[in-house]
Symmetry: C2
Subunit: 348 residues, 2 copies
């Protein structure tokens, strides 16, 4: 991974970045819907500071659109299977287009059925899971998005890459405020962090990564795989959560298991579709406590959370708080882009 | 907490324990349905080695049945709100009766709607969350059960008890085998473990508990609160998962928030109902990939998991594997019961 000094970053207004990202995807052949969805999801990540899934991925997506892995002009098809369930066949679309369509459908169905889930099949990398949970929350629902990914995380006690970083994202509407928004990998850190620490010559925290024999290591140069959330003593919990994501994204939908999936990047094959599955769920508060009670409860919950005692020098935050703060800052400063991406997008 | 030397344990056949537990609850006034449900859930925990939620709780439930906190003869009511959603008002029943009824209803609805969720209100302590996830899996569905509980876990950076240990349980059917079964607290350890280590004079693992100022401590005598799963560096993930459980169990259903809930045990009030909420979700594989594909996929997933490389001296397990092994052993040996519980149940 190429590292960039902060001084090298170029700050670009969101609107400019949005337009250039969209154009780059269109140039690579993506149809308008695909390009809009991928741009929206990448800008979500870039706005909120999740830069690993931000506009820096544009060149990757252009590559897989051109290589044939991803279908630039998919004919996505939806099959409703019951009042609260559907399968969306993405026809190897950019995963963002599939995931937004699936969440949209889940929300529509949940408004009728109370709860709804959509399984996505024949999809591809979908970027930041939180983009779709946020879309669901903005539609007024409690929304969950997850996807399994190519394997890079050991099982607890394991000595090979087995699960992906398998994110779980949840969004919940908050009246008068940005949503409660969780977007977490089921490993402690992403593999990118290992590469970053290699470049910086820094030691990793304890219990986040292992060498090729599965032994925990803090030396980033020795890392062959990540360890699951929970670390040396409690990694069985992170591994189980990763398995839960695989169960819903791949097993339930009949899609590719993590360890059988073509790698996103560490491969020469950018031609074969990866046939990824995703899962999304939407829950309508109107069908449970009712909107008024829900809104009062989440407002009280967050007020009490924010007023709670903090450890010296620390603060407490609800999921999303850090990201909304980054978003506000970047609205002022523009979005920082590394030189390579800036060059690719023509904003350098 | 009173500790028991292994030598003091009394091994009781499951059938005997089941009958005595049921009788003790009936003696405390519980109607037949309540007593059967609580007995089933406690025996689930005792069989699988989750002794903190096993038959040792019988005396606690007898106390709250007699004290008035729990209604021994509840009139539970179900309100269907849409094809895939319902609210179950437990009328302050034993939580086990409410949770089994809710999961049963969710499974029935999911068979029609593909996916279904039930929010439980006006409930009480429901024991091991996995009991209900298992019930759903045994009915052929992927089933999720969760509940918020009285607060004992700090927020990440926090210095007060805010969330409960807020378990997440998931069960998934496996053809020809016992289900994939996850039942995890969103803290690293339960508070009982702190009490145990106090008695044993042992140091706790790093990053699992904090003193009254919120500083991490490994001295069990200094512990005022637990830390969320993820420990010192990544506890924001465990805190977010605990918050997710609170969102679905309490905020969505309009039930009591963790930090406003009457304590289960550290209180003199065994008269006032705790008005707990629970949440359960059922997903029917028939409405996604279809049963045959689902069964082939989970079989492959588990076979590959069990055949995967292990770190030296370690083994890899799927969620539930450890528990099914304990169950098999206890079928041979009987279930170990501490002397106090044995005396209470008349099996000593």
């Amino acid at each position: 991974m190429k590292r960039t000094h902060v001084a090298d970053l170029i700050f670009v207004p969101e609107q400019v970045l949005d337009a250039r990202t969209f154009d780059a995807l269109r140039d690579a052949g993506a149809d308008e819907n695909s390009a809009r969805a991928a741009t929206r999801a990448m800008l979500h990540a870039s706005r909120l500071g999740i830069d690993s899934h931000g506009v820096r991925l544009t060149s990757h997506y252009a590559k897989v659109l051109r290589g044939g892995r991803v279908n630039p002009t998919p004919q996505m098809e939806t099959r409703r299977t019951a009042a609260g369930s559907a399968i969306l066949d993405a026809d190897n679309a950019l995963g963002h287009a599939a995931a937004y369509a699936a969440m949209n459908l889940a929300c529509d169905m949940a408004k009728e059925a109370g709860v709804a889930a959509v399984g996505v099949v024949n999809s591809s990398h979908y970027g930041a899971a939180g983009a779709y949970a946020l879309a669901g929350a903005e539609a007024g629902l409690i929304a969950v998005s997850m996807t399994n990914t190519d394997s890079v995380v050991a099982l607890h006690g394991g000595a090979q890459r087995f699960h992906g970083t398998n994110p779980i994202a949840v969004g919940a509407p908050v009246p008068g405020h940005r949503p409660w928004l969780l977007d977490m990998a089921t490993s402690s850190i992403p593999f990118n962090r290992v590469l970053l620490y290699r470049t910086l010559g820094r030691s990793l925290p304890e219990g986040v990564a292992a060498d090729q024999s599965g032994q925990p290591t803090q030396d980033p140069n020795d890392v062959e795989m990540l360890m699951p959330l929970g670390g040396i003593d409690f990694g069985f919990k992170g591994a189980a959560l990763a398995g839960f994501v695989t169960l819903l994204s791949a097993v339930l939908t009949g899609s590719t298991l993590d360890h059988l999936m073509i790698r996103m990047a560490e491969t020469d094959d950018f031609k074969t579709p990866r046939q990824m599955g995703h899962f999304c769920l939407a829950i309508d508060p109107d069908r449970f406590a009712g909107r008024a009670l829900y809104e009062a409860a989440i407002t009280r919950y967050l007020a009490d959370l924010r007023a709670s005692a903090t450890s010296q020098g620390q603060s407490v935050m609800a999921p999303g708080d850090r990201e909304w703060a980054v978003e506000a800052e970047r609205q002022r400063t523009g979005i920082p882009v590394d030189p390579e991406t800036a060059k690719f997008l023509g904003v350098g």
